[in-house]
Amino acid sequence: MTPAQPLGLPAPLDGSIPQESTIGAEHRAFSLYVHVPFCSIRCGYCDFNTYAVDDFGNGVGLDSYAQDAIAELDFSARVLRDNGAPARKLHTVFFGGGTPTKLPARDLVRILQHAIDLFGLEDNAEVTTEANPDSVTAEDLQVLADGGFTRVSFGMQSAVPEVLEVLDRTHTPANVPKVVQWAKDAGLQVSVDLIYGTPGETLEQWVQSIKSAISYRPDHISAYSLIVEDGTKLAVQIKRGQYELPDDDLMADMYTEAEKLLSSAGYRWYEVSNFSTSPQTQSTHNYAYWKNQDWWGIGPGAHSHINGTRWWNVKHPVAYSGRIRNNQSPAAAREILEPSTRDFESIMLMLRTVEGVSTSYLQEIHGEALEPKLQWLVLQELIDSTELANGRVVLTFKGRLLGDAVTRELLPETE
């Protein structure tokens, strides 16, 4: 099962977006997300929109995906133009899933090249694809690099077979260093994703995973904590008592170990879950999300955002293809954000980053109430006092662990 989508407002079938949403677009970056909803098997913890099926019937499947994605690209270019958006080159492109590398590498390149033909690409733009360490070859990676990709993100999750088994991950840990090296050889930047807090995982096993990841010297490491979502296989297993949820204190210890090992190996945090070797190797695409830039999401269930208008596509590939092939917007629903909601989101997202949020912005929202809040947060060592003196609210290490508590304190009131 995949997560319930938000309710939202009806989205028009012609894909049109409110005129206000295109105002000032020249000052905002424009990015592309391509959702590839195919996987070899469904992992027990995963609640993303993905299917362990290659052929859905009705002529919809792995083979038809690139054609439909290209059709939505054409649709997106037309909608933006017709609704008054100026032409903008792509700032970043990100292929996620699912497992994008379930598609032949040349299909990924074909989609990317079509997007570049339509919009153009900024100089030195970041173009990433996610990849499974087991299903990608040195040749694939070379094809991707030659076709315009600059970065690959491997779903490593753990170096410990027992932990991977709980997660239902099929890859062999030994494959990870191999694919990382291939990607480097092809000239790609490399990121690896890790997950901590898998049921049964010990602190030692987690330390082993981080040390392994560091030893492969990727440019970027993400460390996400496992969230058990309703409706996943893992949630059922926990409910049945097969697994036990990890304790929050253990999770805190794991994050603390990760911070120690990563920083001493030269990886610096730039967002609660993301670490990189330098500012140049941070994920620009991530920042586009966090800074509320514009992006179009291609593919089943993909989310888009154009200046305060968000929409999300229908989830099922057959429904998605049906819409696209009828020249209709695949959007399931949309929401148009109130200014206070946009503030809410900005604070929620940016507070987690090393840039933080400016005090002057918070001042506009909270007025006189801000000062005592900040004093309290400094007193509790949740925000950095030096940064505060420079007019920015930035989480301390302790503040990162209690990031949601800090955020709740600083969020605006919404209806």
């Binding site: 204190d249 879950s273 993909a302 968000r310 309290w376 949740l382 990162r400």
Partner: protein, 618 residues
């Protein structure tokens, strides 16, 4: 056997010789209301079609709990041996909280049916009311009910009843309210055995108020029993306790709906309507006379209602305070015993300190507030009134732990009760253990029959207001019954225990306890709060203190991780919804200093039920 009355006596012109006034003394669940229904049917006052089960209990809460809070009086015609009689059945409350109301109902009667479940035997409260009836010289007709039950043991309990009131076992009537068996015999027996009322027809009018009910359409409806003289419609009447005068707008009898009459004569029972809007202007126990040429002496026996148990009531949503105030004002119209004054709690906000006759009264009022006025309430742990004498010899009444003086105290006195407990003799040990743990002193013990025993204890009221009855029931497998009445005051070594969260006193959790129990209260409450309060961003010490001396301490460890670190990609809405939900949750917290305390923690920490659950877990 009697058919329906052929020529029922006319109200206001009824010869006292054909009047029979009686009430029914019974324990909850022993079938009083069902039997009353049968009598209404047998006398033709209610046709089967009109029959609403348990016709006399009007309020929903009463119906659900199977108890009668407010008594009423129904006039029923009955013919025996060619004579037409008027029977007045006066319904009485069956719970200890309402002893005074019971005593007034009894004073309006010449006789009482002692109704006992043939499967259970007599219970402590019934026994207490029986003694009350005997003190009032009422003629007692013993009746065993529910003889249709397979578990009925009529012979055994007939003997018990006979032994109690000094009759022969075969004099005990056997009826079934359910099937109607024995009901006509019972009505005949009432006519035969009960004395007719006596009074001076030509003396100034004197009628005793035995109940007073607020009706939103008619104002206060007052139930009276005329002792001397007569009351006439449209005359001016006077309440003798206050000398307040009212116009008698309507007078009549209930049969079973109100029937206006010209008046009420000696021995008659009926209702008055004067247009007053507050039951306090027409108080139970007061004597009604005529304004002109009225009586000079009242009938006596009037007492002001005395609230004995106090609790703070606070709306969970602070903006409901005006709703709570209006709701209490409305309930007061119908409940002369309800008193309250505004109270402010640092932890719970604005609310009221409310006085009740007892715990049942508290529960009923709370339930009515929640149900009829749609309020969500927190009620603080109930406490009693203390007289605190300071060093200068000045006495203060303390109804709230927050009023407990900080300085040196010369003496504290607490109210005492005399308790009667009836139970199978196998539970004597368990009962004695419970009473001793509650600072009880045994007054005596008697066997009612071979295997049933009555125990008498003197206990502090404070020790029985919390969960004594629940504990008694659970230690005796539900067999014990309890009755209590106030029995003076006693000096005691009492202290106030405060609960501090991060050094800040939380007034809602303060309690006045015996010094020997202060420690266990402190340990219990700090332990409970540690479980109930979620971990905060900082360590939170929970302390229990007497004055500045800490007697118990727990720690809530600081939360170390409170951040969602999941890859949400472009699905920002989902992430926002999660934080919005968290933020909503935070709004429902009460702030004690910087500590966020969920409402549920207050409710759970203050509820007595939770405590007994905790005990059984440990």
């Amino acid at each position: 056997m009697s058919p329906l009355a052929t020529n029922p006596p006319v109200p206001s012109a009824t010869d006292p010789a054909v009047i029979r006034n009686f009430c029914i003394i019974a324990h909850i669940d022993h079938g009083k209301s069902t039997l009353a229904d049968r009598m209404l049917q047998a006398t033709g006052v209610v046709t089967p079609r009109e029959m609403k089960a348990q016709y006399l209990d009007r309020m929903d809460i009463e119906r659900e709990r199977g108890i009668t809070i407010k008594s009423q009086a129904v006039r029923m015609p009955w013919e025996k041996d060619g004579v037409n009689y008027a029977l007045n059945m006066i319904d009485t409350p069956g719970h200890v909280d309402f002893t005074y109301e019971v005593s007034r109902s009894l004073a309006a009667c010449e006789g009482a049916l002692l109704l006992v479940d043939a499967a259970q035997g007599i219970e402590a409260q019934t026994l207490a009311n029986l003694y009350l009836a005997m003190e009032n010289d009422l003629t007692i007709i013993p009746v065993l009910n529910k003889i249709d039950l397979p578990a009925a043991q009529p012979d055994k309990y007939a003997e018990e009843l006979a032994h109690l009131i000094g009759v022969e076992p075969e004099d005990v009537l056997r009826v079934s309210g359910k099937t109607g068996e024995g009901v006509t015999e019972l009505l005949d027996r009432i006519v035969e055995l009960l004395p007719a009322p006596e009074g001076k027809a030509d003396a100034p009018a004197r009628a005793m108020i035995f109940d007073s009910v607020y009706d939103s359409y008619r104002g206060v409806v007052t139930y009276v029993r005329v002792v001397d003289g007569r009351l006439e419609s449209r005359q001016k009447i006077k309440m003798m306790s206050t000398s307040a005068e009212h116009d008698l707008l309507e007078i009549g009898v209930i049969s079973p709906e109100p029937n206006p009459t010209k008046g009420l004569g000696v021995g008659e029972v009926g209702y008055l309507i004067t247009g007053v809007k507050d039951v306090r202007q027409s108080r139970v126990g007061d004597t009604v006379t005529s304004s002109v040429n009225g009586a000079s002496d009242s009938l006596g026996g009037y007492e002001d209602p005395k609230p004995m148990v106090f609790s703070g009531l606070f709306p969970i949503d602070g903006s409901d305070y005006p709703v709570l105030r209006d709701a209490l004002d409305k309930l007061k119209l119908n409940d002369a015993a309800l008193i309250y004054e505004p109270e402010t709690s640092a932890a719970l906000g604005f609310g009221f300190r409310v006085g009740f006759l007892g715990l049942l009264h508290l529960e009923i009022v709370r339930e009515r507030l929640e149900r009829e006025f749609n309020l969500d309430l927190i009620s603080t742990a109930p406490n009693v009134i203390y007289d605190v004498v300071d060093e200068s010899g000045e006495t203060r009444r303390v109804t709230n732990p927050s009023e407990f003086p900080e300085g040196k105290i010369a003496e504290i006195r607490e109210p005492m009760v005399a308790c009667t407990i009836i139970a199978p003799s196998e539970f004597i040990g368990a009962i004695m253990e419970l009473c001793q743990s509650r600072r009880g002193i045994m007054g005596g013990m008697d066997y009612l029959s071979q295997d049933r025993v009555e125990l008498r204890y003197r206990l502090p009221l404070a020790e029985i207001v919390f969960d004594f009855f629940d504990q008694l029931k659970s230690r005796t497998k539900g067999y014990a019954s309890l009755d209590w009445k106030l029995d003076g005051e006693e000096e005691a070594d009492l202290v106030k225990v405060d609960i501090l969260l991060q050094g800040e006193k939380v007034d809602a959790f303060s309690a006045i306890t015996h010094r020997d129990k202060a420690y266990s209260y402190g340990v219990m409450m700090t332990g409970k709060l540690r479980e109930l309060i979620p971990r905060q961003q900082f360590e939170v010490p929970i302390q229990a203190a007497i004055g500045s001396r800490i007697i118990a301490r727990e720690n809530i460890r600081a939360i170390r991780k409170d951040v969602l670190s999941k890859c949400y990609g472009g699905d920002i809405s989902r992430k926002r919804k999660l934080l919005e939900k968290q933020k909503e949750g935070k709004k429902r917290m009460k702030m004690v200093g910087r500590v966020e305390v969920p409402q549920e923690a207050f409710i759970a920490a203050l509820s007595s039920g939770e405590e007994s659950k905790d005990k059984s877990k440990k």
